[in-house]
Homo-oligomer: 116 residues x 2
């Protein structure tokens, strides 16, 4: 349970987004961010279909997001050996670092907030 006022929420959101813009690297879309965090916060295993249902989007959205985030080294894919139709999405070191970095940004900006 975390108490936060509307004005604080907006300032927090803005500051972190400014940080993300300045971070030349990561320019993930809203969808990609939601996918990445779901992979790193929810219990494995993760599948394309599962993520699509979880986010309320179509499967190609997940496939493409995994393609692009895979190029960035944020996630990786592996065929499920027991049901070769499935693909298991796996975490990577780079992905874990990116998620951790995001957490740092948010907590740091939150700490700076006045009570207004």
């Amino acid at each position: 349970m975390l108490e936060i006022k509307p004005t604080q929420a907006l300032r927090l959101w803005r500051e972190v987004h400014l940080d993300l813009v300045r971070d030349t690297q990561a320019d993930l879309s809203v969808r990609q961010t939601a996918i990445l965090l779901t992979i790193y916060l929810e219990l494995p295993p993760h599948t394309v279909r599962g993520l699509a249902a979880r986010l309320g989007v179509t499967k190609p959205v997940i496939t493409r997001a995994l393609d692009s985030m895979g190029k960035l080294g944020l996630v990786s894919r592996k065929r499920d050996e027991y049901d070769k139709r499935n693909v298991v999405i796996q975490r990577t070191v780079a992905g874990a670092l990116a998620v951790e970095h995001l957490a740092d940004l948010v907590t740091a900006r939150a700490r700076e907030l006045g009570s207004a």
Copy 2:
């Protein structure tokens, strides 16, 4: 000053992003979000050049963002009558509502967070 743990920060970020994905409408980019919130949180007047400098991006980025957000009715533009080179960016009712809606999302999700 707002105390928030890294795990809470990530869960908050994820939940709000999931909400944004499900909100069929707004699919603003990170840059657009930063621009919108800057316009609505910082004191006017706002200019293209000022926003570009504030965000550390080039002017065309701002122009294009204003184009697309203008189509969505989130902001509007007006020539500065005292220096006709300048364009003054103005807030709109729809934009204010969108910002307020975002604040609601963040505060609501924050309130749901456990202490983990």
